[in-house]
């Protein structure tokens, strides 16, 4: 369940991500009434098994069973805001009537991981997920060579262009007037590492605050360019982190700003 809104008197309109048919829209009749057999099973971020009856107009949910409720995501603002972001990202990439087994699996697995993840590892998981999702849809950023001239990148600071889709070398950076983001060596290394890491490797990665922010900015601008719009739930994600002061998680022994610690190599 990636999206839900009220419909009519007491119905709900659902948007579901399914493995076999991609994005699906369906109505759940009377789901907002207490005692509704459907209502209790249908909520955002729930992994559900549903039966659909097709007829004229919108498909209707005839039966729903919760497979995973992800309670661990729902009890905690930090995890909740991140879980919603993961789901929205999957939704943005998905289309109707097109199988999306890979992205579906990726979303469910990542939500499962997030549910039990300590706060300090969650951002790395999100960046890893973004790169995976981009890769599965053929939009992975070019991080190995200059995206323009394809020359090998020297071991030094470069810039990043979302419009061109990757790292840009010093010779090419003046070509074009697209917005450029700083991409220091450590940031490039972190991105490359996350791009080929498994998720357990990704969540083991310790990154300093500055690098973490820069990596996030690069991927956010890349996603914005690819999707041609903002991912709306980033607003809540940022708000929870910043305004509520729900700690920019500072776990013990991890002083901020000390750069990449577990060296991502390459």
């Amino acid at each position: 369940m990636v999206r839900m809104s009220d419909l009519g008197e007491a119905d709900r309109l659902l948007v579901l991500l399914t493995p076999g048919r991609g994005l699906m829209r369906a109505t759940a009749r009377s789901a907002r009434k207490p005692g509704s057999k459907l209502g209790g099973h249908l909520d955002l971020l729930c992994h559900v098994s549903i039966s659909i009856s097709t007829g004229r107009g919108l498909d209707t949910v005839s039966q729903a069973d919760t497979l995973e409720g992800f309670r661990g995501l729902r009890d905690d603002l930090g995890r909740l805001s991140r879980g919603l972001y993961l789901a929205e990202l999957a939704e943005r990439f998905a289309v109707e009537e097109a199988a999306s087994h890979g992205p579906f699996r990726l979303l469910v697995d990542t939500l499962r991981t997030l549910e039990k993840l300590p706060a300090d590892a969650a951002d790395s998981l999100l960046r890893w997920y973004e790169l995976r999702m981009l890769g599965q849809h053929g939009f992975a950023p070019q991080l190995q060579r200059c995206v323009d001239c394809e020359s090998a990148l020297e071991q030094k600071d470069h810039v990043y262009s979302a419009a061109r889709g990757g790292i840009v070398c010093p010779n090419c950076r003046t070509r074009g007037d697209d917005p450029l983001l700083p991409a220091p060596v450590t940031v490039i290394k972190i991105l490359r590492f996350l791009g080929r890491a498994t998720w357990p490797e990704a969540i083991g990665l310790k990154v300093g605050d500055d690098d973490r922010r820069m990596v996030e900015r690069v991927l956010r601008s890349h996603l914005h360019y690819v999707l041609d719009r903002d991912v709306k739930s980033t607003g809540f994600l940022d708000e929870v982190r910043k305004r509520l002061g729900v700690a920019e998680a500072a776990p013990e022994g991890d002083p901020p700003g000390d750069g990449a610690r577990t060296g991502p190599q390459g």
Partner: protein, 213 residues
Amino acid sequence: MDGHRAASLAPPVARLIEAFRKLPGVGPKSAQRLAYHLIRMPRAEAESLAEAILAVKDRIVLCQVCQNITESTPCPICSDQSRDRTRICVVEEPLDSMAIERTRSYDGLYHVLHGVISPVNGIGADDLKVRELLERLRDESVTEVILATNPNLEGEATAMYLQRLLKPLGIAVSRLARGLSSGADLEYADESTLAHALQGRTRSADQDASQSL
């Protein structure tokens, strides 16, 4: 297809259908049905409907205190001196406060948020009457805030968010007890269930220890 058909309709009809379509829960088919119903309606009835719409726009305001819809501000509940002014029950919509009033088991005040935090729709606390709530808590002698948002993910997210926000103020914060069937809307809860949920409300545990981000 509907857009196509509407384009060949007489412009006033198309305009009316378009206006209905903007209403919550009204799809293209219902919009057409409503429009054709109005066309067949006696003129006097149509005029009275139009007047009723203008009357809400002209006469209904938001209560400056609780943000509920009212004809006069402060609203009757906020002006009622016999009510317990140390408690504020926070609800998503005006209808929710009416549902709680019907239980007759709550005599405190309300605060209407006019929505719920909905991250995937880009609706955050700034789009709700949250600042007004904080303002109220600074002035009044409120000792308890009851968060009565809907028992679904967005309602819970809103409640957790407010809980976080209110924590530094040192006011007791409670949530409605479970027993409300999850997934359902408050406005549909039957009175006894809702009354029980109010009585059995739980002091929000200090979640900080387990909060992670």
